[in-house]
């Protein structure tokens, strides 16, 4: 995976598989401190310490359960190669928070890529989940909570052509203006 937004998509898919009902994705770029922070928080079934270890480093421990992919270890390695880190906070029955941080200007840092495409894919493909997306660059921010939109639309699905163009425009224009006005 060559984009951080694809990793976000991958982690969010894990949250969905873990039975989450509420998922919040945060992206924060701090150009002054030169850091890029990403997180995915869910209220899924959570993991015990053993599982967290396996998910982060699948080759160290003997794997007894399948269902452990390589998405997280690869992202962790990528972050550590860029003066960053990856942490998983998880409790069985409560949920999971995956956080990752990079040195923003590091030459090896993957680009964020198509953030709007990731958010749109998650929103439309998983209408049963309550999504909150937060993207900030320095002091400017954009937040999308899909609850009020769903309330307003009632029985009209996100895959309706009118709704799709609304959502796409909303995400793309806000993310574009964040990325162009705040980044020097």
């Amino acid at each position: 995976m060559r984009e951080l937004s694809l990793h976000l998509l991958d982690i969010a898919e894990n949250s969905i598989s873990a039975g989450a009902k509420n998922i919040t994705i945060t992206i924060h770029e701090d150009t002054l401190a030169d850091r890029l922070y990403l997180s995915v928080q869910d209220d899924g079934k959570g993991m015990d310490e053993e599982m967290v270890r396996k998910v982060t480093d699948p080759f160290v421990t003997t794997r007894t359960t399948r269902k452990v992919g390589l998405g997280i270890p690869l992202l962790k390695a990528a972050a550590e190669a860029c003066n960053g880190w990856l942490k998983i906070h998880s409790k069985p029955g409560e949920g999971t928070l995956v956080e990752v941080e990079f040195q923003r200007s590091h030459i090896d840092r993957m680009p964020l890529g198509d953030v709007a495409g990731t958010f749109l894919t998650l929103l439309v493909g998983n209408p049963q989940i309550h999504w909150v997306f937060r993207y900030s660059v320095n002091q400017d921010s954009f937040e999308l909570d899909d609850q009020p939109i769903k309330q307003e639309l009632q029985d009209i699905p996100f895959s309706d052509p009118f709704v799709l163009s609304y959502l796409r425009e909303l995400l793309e224009s806000n993310i574009r203006s964040l990325q162009t006005t705040s980044v020097n």
Partner: protein, 122 residues
Amino acid sequence: MPTIKSLDDLKRIREEALEKRKVKTASGQVQVIVGMGTCGIAAGARDAMKAILETIQTENLEGVIVTQTGCIGLCEKEPIVQVVVGDQPKVTYGKVSPEVARQIMKEHVKNGNVVKEYVIQV
């Protein structure tokens, strides 16, 4: 920066969508399922999804339900897209690039003709 453009926009969108729905006769629902496991994502499932959503917009396709699923054990055939038209059996497509996705949407979802060259056996 506004969190949501405005809820009035959404009211209008809802009304337009409802209006359209009245005009259109029930032609049976179509379900489009995109594989979004790690394998699918790495193979380009998000781009396939984007192409599917774009075609819904450009072709103005009503009554299409787009959902996603995890890895179905055919990682080498990803990106995988499945189409279910009404009560017909599920058709599974493999190696779905954005171009193939657009073709599936136009030929299968819109006109009801299976795009045979990309069908895979599951």
